[in-house]
Symmetry: C2
Subunit: 205 residues, 2 copies
């Protein structure tokens, strides 16, 4: 390890907020950038401008903190989807295109892909409590996409949604083994191709 994690890293939460909030915000940032296994609780506490004891007064174990971080990431993600839905009320196809744009930007701006998927990779134990949260999140996200494809009038909305979701997941994981450009552009092109393909009328003779 060239440099110690947390050393002279940018503060992620203002010192005015409450310790618990700062801890979670800092943990989310450090967990995302370095991985949940590579970041110690002491590093998190100090980067959050507090100490280990206070951290353990709010979370029984490190796993509990990880769970809270994953939960928050999920809530934020769905809030963004809700905004998409609200902004394109009555225009499902517009919402679908907006989601593709949103997802493309996400791939560009998030160098390490999906925080939840990464956590699932690191927490390999099958019965790890965090995995449950992640599974629920992915399932709920799929439901959103299926329903959106239905509303947008795509043929075979299930298949269209699954295709889009796999493309999205694939692009976010590939982002880590390729450049930014590759993944985001390839995702966008592929997703637009899928929309086009499932929008075509297949009921002609």
């Amino acid at each position: 390890m060239a440099r110690k994690i947390g050393e002279s890293e940018a503060r992620t939460a203002p010192a005015t907020s409450r310790p618990r909030d700062r801890i979670v915000a800092t943990a989310r940032d450090l967990f995302y950038r370095h991985g949940v296994k590579s970041v110690g609780v002491e590093t998190i506490a100090e980067s959050a401008g507090t100490n280990k004891m206070t951290l353990y007064r709010h979370f029984d174990t490190k796993d509990d903190l990880i769970a809270e971080c994953v939960q928050q990431a999920m809530v934020e993600g769905f809030a963004e989807l809700d905004q998409l839905t609200a902004r394109h009320a009555g225009d499902p196809m517009g919402e679908l295109r907006a989601w593709i744009e949103h997802a493309t930007c996400q791939i560009v701006s998030e160098p390490r892909g999906c925080a939840m998927a990464n956590a699932a990779v690191e927490l390999a134990e099958e019965d790890h409590p965090v995995r449950r949260i992640i599974e629920d999140g992915k399932k709920r996200f799929r439901e959103y996409l299926v329903e959106l494809c239905q509303r947008a009038g795509l043929s075979r909305p299930d298949l269209a949604a699954d295709t889009l979701m796999l493309l999205h997941e694939g692009a976010r994981i590939s982002r880590q083994s390729e450049g930014v450009q590759g993944s985001s552009e390839r995702f966008k092109s592929a997703a637009e191709g899928v929309i086009a393909s499932f929008s075509e009328r297949h009921d002609k003779p």
Copy 2:
């Protein structure tokens, strides 16, 4: 951690082979199942029926061992692709369909997805030497797919290959946050849809 890693786990390499081979085979298995950060060198050595000192006579550092494991996984993967090519000489569309079948089986049989992608997630440091190996592997694999789509006469082979590759990556990472069935079947359906879509003649009026 409920049970210690390596405790009463099935031996992965026969005791007759050379220590180095046993070490790599055991490491690949344990790294894959538990993650590279969660498995210690001592555990690997003992599970391989040898000891830490012998391990360090063959590999300077743990990272070197990880690199060797990733390299081997890559070599094996491309050997399988070579077999596909050989078995379907002169029938590129057959090879493409065989690859989909091969990938689907892989998703079913490999519960933790792609060993290389997982390693990239765990080894977050941008300049980690193992990442280079992985990037090369993914790049080479994309080249294989592009070339195969070309030979199979798909329209826009680049886009088709990217779509298939993202689907594949996505299914392998989703496999860890969903059941087996979901990921594999969804990948297969989506991939077949892509082939159908890119096989259609778009040059009609």
